[in-house]
């Protein structure tokens, strides 16, 4: 029963397991499920294990039990991008037409839906051939656009609806919010970075070591001798270098700020430095990058076990990275291209990573990101990315 439903869920990217499917049948046998709406709740709680997929589940449920239109889930991201394009188009048709190299008049005759399809087709074309550059595609894609309201005709949402409550509930798509990855908060960082610790015994000997106590007591023939140990304290050294310059980091300031706040509270031995776009001669201790430079040669004297975390979007003009006099600041003239300086850092610190607030899916579109990825392992500034980063930083082997 419901095998189609199960497979549609699977195909739509909801991670469902056969065991859970069997459990659902066990649930059906109990006789507790007597209506479609009860089936809706029961099946969701058994099959779907994260609220992130509740929205998908709702869509598939509405599709299976009421024939609502199932959105093109494979092209979901493309969909969002195309919507972004559409929004842009409505705001400024001429510019868009120029950018795409098409006739404005011709596009104006299309309905919004046809327009969307057209944009989608264009985007699909581009995926293969076009790399880097066109900023408006990237930025357009991130803007969350509602379903309707930006065209007098309005857009069709959801599809057919019937008078069945569960289906109605499913069509409401109450869980839409959860399907987007939420903003990074301090508590979530805590979650991800918790394992980033290096525990070393320090302080007074005030912890009873039970095993050693028993051993010593036995050795003394029953005369109790209590053995004390020192407390374990976190002695991890961390250098956090933040790209705080220029407009390209602006959208991520909030996120980086959270990371910084968290790090300051968490790590005893934390040094924070600032840079703009990439590293040349020095890193700065002051956020304005003016008063307190720390030359890179000084950094090389630090404990090589220090974990170095560079935070930045790694997006810049290639010459800033490759050219010998690449810095956009006139006073920074070291004679070495920034690429060499980054390599120096990577050689100095075994555990150095680059944390990038730009979503991983967009890394391939920026040349400098690819170059920097060759030097530092790069991780996305998201919960998953942070976790991977911690795993990397705490791993024994050097990469």
């Amino acid at each position: 029963m419901f095998i189609d439903f199960f497979y549609t869920l699977k195909d739509s990217g909801v991670p469902v397991s056969p065991t859970a499917f069997l459990t659902l049948h066990r649930a059906l046998k109990t006789g507790l499920i007597g209506s479609l709406s009860e089936f809706y709740t029961a099946a969701r709680s058994i099959l779907v294990k994260s609220e992130r997929y509740f929205d998908r589940y709702d869509q598939v449920f509405a599709h299976t039990f009421a024939g609502a239109e199932l959105p093109d889930l494979e092209g979901l991201e493309l969909d969002e991008m195309a919507r972004g394009l559409l929004e842009e188009w409505l705001r400024n048709p001429r510019e868009m037409a120029d950018a795409l190299g098409i006739d404005e008049e011709e596009l104006q005759r299309l309905t919004p839906e046809e327009l969307l399809d057209y944009f989608k087709a264009r985007l699909k074309d581009q995926e293969g051939e076009h790399h880097g550059g066109n900023r408006w595609i990237g930025t357009g894609g991130t803007s969350p656009v509602g379903h309707s309201g930006y065209h007098p005709g309005g857009m069709r949402v959801g599809g057919v609806s019937r008078n069945k409550s569960a289906v109605k509930v499913a069509l409401d798509r109450r869980y839409r919010d959860y399907s987007l990855s939420g903003p990074l908060k301090a508590s979530m960082m805590n979650e991800a970075l918790k394992r980033l610790r290096h525990l070393v015994p320090t302080g007074p000997r005030d912890q009873v070591n039970v095993d050693a106590t028993i051993y010593q007591t036995m050795k003394n023939g029953g005369e109790i001798e209590i053995v004390f140990d020192r407390d374990l304290k976190d002695r991890l050294k961390v250098i956090l270098a933040i790209d705080n310059g220029g407009w390209s980091m602006d959208p991520y300031v909030q996120m980086v700020q959270t990371l910084f706040d968290y790090a300051r509270a968490q790590f005893k031995d934390l040094k924070t430095f600032y840079f703009h776009n990439t590293v040349y001669d020095a890193l700065w201790k002051d956020p304005s990058r003016y008063k307190q430079p720390v030359r890179l040669e000084e950094l090389t004297r630090y404990d090589p076990a220090t974990r170095l975390v560079l935070v930045g979007d790694a997006s810049m003009a290639p010459y800033e990275l490759m050219a010998r006099e690449g810095s956009i600041y006139i006073q920074e003239r070291s004679g070495d291209p920034s690429l060499r300086r980054l390599q120096l850092l990577a050689e100095t610190f075994d555990k150095a990573v680059w944390l990038n607030p730009v979503p991983q899916s967009r890394w391939d579109y920026t040349q400098t990101i690819s170059i920097i990825r060759d030097i530092f392992p790069m991780f996305e500034l998201s919960i998953d990315g942070l976790e991977d980063m911690v795993t990397h930083l705490m791993s024994k082997t050097t990469s």
């Binding site: 109990t30 709740t41 029961a42 969701r44 709680s45 294990k49 979650e191 109790i224």
Partner: protein, 283 residues
């Protein structure tokens, strides 16, 4: 418990239950699977376990998970120090050579060995390491655990109703999720919230309730607030408003919001909220 259909969960005196959640609780009980609850703080995850226990008349055993906790701590403890002490001075009536006398059951152990069916609440499981969840898989699967020191297996006498809560947005490990039923409690909508308030303050003045709920939801929507006020804060806030004899519900609709500190606990959030309120931007 399919053999006893009369045992089903319908709500409790201090807890407003929505139908969806009631169905899920009943299904999980019937399937004898743990129910994993996620949701914003203040959506009543912990309260649900209390309500189930109250409603079904079962004892509630709460395991508050801590970050340093190992699963063994939750199962049982072997009190070596007492045994050592007894062996040295021998002034207790325990038999020193009987290790079992020094085994104390932890919270999970208590639930397993209880003489009747219990509700076991494993609160905020995300606080502990992922090892904790992984270790727990076997225990949940087999519904038994071993006490290594005396080589004894402890089976469950009565399968407890297990409620697991997690605050984190992060998902728990897949194998663990596979053994649980899952529900995400959304933040109550204003309609639900009024019911909740009604339960806590049966004699509340309707003007006060209306304006308090309205103000509350507006305050929740403020941008850039790290910890948004939740149900608990709202209830405390209403308690504060009612205690203040000078307070009139009309003040709220005029944009005067007293006791903001009850709603916003972080100083940045508080400043943010009070600046918005003072500028009368809320209404």
């Amino acid at each position: 418990m399919p053999e006893n259909p009369s045992v089903s969960f319908t709500g409790a005196s201090r807890y407003v239950l929505d139908e969806e959640l009631a169905a899920i609780v009943n299904i999980s009980m019937a399937l004898e699977m743990p129910l994993l609850l996620k949701g914003e703080p203040g959506t009543g995850k912990t309260m649900l376990a209390h309500a189930i226990a109250e409603n079904l008349g079962m004892p509630l055993i709460v395991l508050n998970v801590k970050s340093s906790m190992k699963l063994v701590d939750a199962l049982y403890q072997y009190d070596t120090l007492t045994r050592l002490n007894d062996s040295r001075f021998g002034d207790s009536d325990r038999n020193v050579s009987d290790i079992e006398a020094y085994i104390k059951m932890g919270k999970i152990g208590q639930a397993f060995t209880a003489d009747r069916r219990t509700v076991l609440l494993i609160d905020e499981i995300d606080k502990a390491d992922t090892d904790f969840q992984d270790d727990m898989l076997d225990v949940l699967d087999q519904m038994e655990f071993d006490i290594i020191e005396i080589d004894k297996t402890v089976p469950t006498k009565h399968r407890p109703v297990i409620i697991v809560t997690s605050n984190a947005k992060k998902d728990l490990s897949d194998p663990f999720l596979g053994r649980c039923n899952f529900h995400h409690i959304a933040f109550p909508d204003p309609k639900m919230m009024r019911k909740i308030i009604q339960v806590h303050f049966p004699d509340i003045d309707s003007a006060l309730m209306e304006s308090a709920v309205e103000t509350f939801y507006r305050l929740r929507e403020l941008e850039g607030v790290e910890k948004r006020p939740a149900t608990r804060e709202l209830i405390n806030w209403i308690r504060a408003l009612r205690a203040d004899l000078d307070f009139k519900p009309k003040q709220l609709s005029r944009g005067e919001v007293p006791f903001l500190g009850v709603l916003f606990k972080k100083s940045q959030d508080y400043q943010r909220a009070s600046s918005v309120v003072h500028r009368r931007k809320l209404f």
